[in-house]
């Protein structure tokens, strides 16, 4: 129930934003994360951005995944 989906913010209007995830665009409520900016990745829970996602840490996971893929080849 505490599911969170990472969205990339593409537009901000006041306390509302439009975000994209998996090719889907949705409205996101920004009142819990006012410092969010266009281009940021945010974790969205039930329509609200609850935290920014650190792109470097996200990249670290992607690197490990690529490592695994090259090892498995």
């Amino acid at each position: 129930m505490c599911l969170g989906v990472p969205f990339r913010i593409v537009r901000i209007e006041g306390t509302k934003a439009r975000g994209v995830a998996f090719g889907l665009e949705k409205e996101i409520d920004l009142r819990l994360l006012e410092e969010a900016m266009v281009g940021d990745y945010v974790l969205v829970h039930a329509g609200f951005a609850i935290q920014k996602i650190d792109p470097e840490e996200a990249e670290e996971n992607a690197r490990l995944f690529r490592e695994f893929l090259s090892e498995a080849r």
């Binding site: 505490c2 996602i53 792109p55």
Partner: protein
Amino acid sequence: MPAYSGSFSPRLDEIVSLLDREIRSPLNLMEICGTHTVAILRFGFRSYFKGRIDFLSGPGCPVCVTAPEDIDRILALAERGVTIVTFGDLLKVPGSGSSLAAKRAEGCAVHVVYNPLEALEIAARTKSETAFIGIGFETTAPLVAALVEEIVTRRISNLSIYPLLKTIPTAMEHLLSRMEHRLDGLICPGHVSAIIGEKPYGFIPARFNLPCVIAGFEREDIAAGLLALLRQIKAGESRVENRYGRVVKREGNPRARELIYRYFRPEAARWRGLGEIPASGLTLRPEYEDYHILRRVPVPVLPGREPAGCLCGRIICGLNSPGDCPHFGRDCTPAHPLGPCMVSSEGSCQAYYLYGRE
């Protein structure tokens, strides 16, 4: 390039090596969050480490821990003509007999929403008494607070909430102080921590001398969390460690917490399986009590009944595994669930049914 050796990550190799050479196993580890239970089963961690790590589920599925008597009161509100607005997870969860899904089939007004603020449009449409069922942990509580904020500022007269919000650290403390099993470490929830940060878990190492790690939900996140736990166990350390730093900041989300406590205050809450725990729930502050549906439409609390022979209450506390229940996979399946842990997509029983049967 190394040949594929059957393990799927360098972190797993290190975990296996620690278990083989340096740590006395089997280990008992508890994951609090229901989404972690699903991830551990779905990605095969449970079967991969069978006999070496026992994963115990904790009270981290909000609808599973909602007491049957609280579900009964929601059903009573629906019967009295209140329009119920809820997250979909709650629909099929049984109270002492019936469920919201059954009430809806009988003609009661029950609306399922993705975002709590959708309740505003529903109330504007129905014009009759409407209640949003606020079930969830700290992740969801700020969203319910945002709904209260909207109701108050827009002066909406026919919309109120039923606050059944619960807080995780209070329940963990209660559970750990009554734990019947030996525990070696804890995996702390990811998205609850995005709100509360690292500090509220400090009592786990301080009072119970247990290592605990905040983890994410991808396969590599679980591997990273397990490895961090095992390294602490090997070193004889116990501290709060955050391995989900891309989302969980040390201080959490202070703005979200400020919004929660602007409208809510801690109060005793009833948990399925755990009973009443002081200060483990959130209810409306005195100045906003008029927005509590029970102030407008009072319904009595009657003693709730668990489904006969259902072990959900013990499974929630990590005292039993779904396979111990005589109903599991026989007369209790996701299509015909008896207890909440089989109903919810993050309940332990449903996760074991879908991913964990051997």
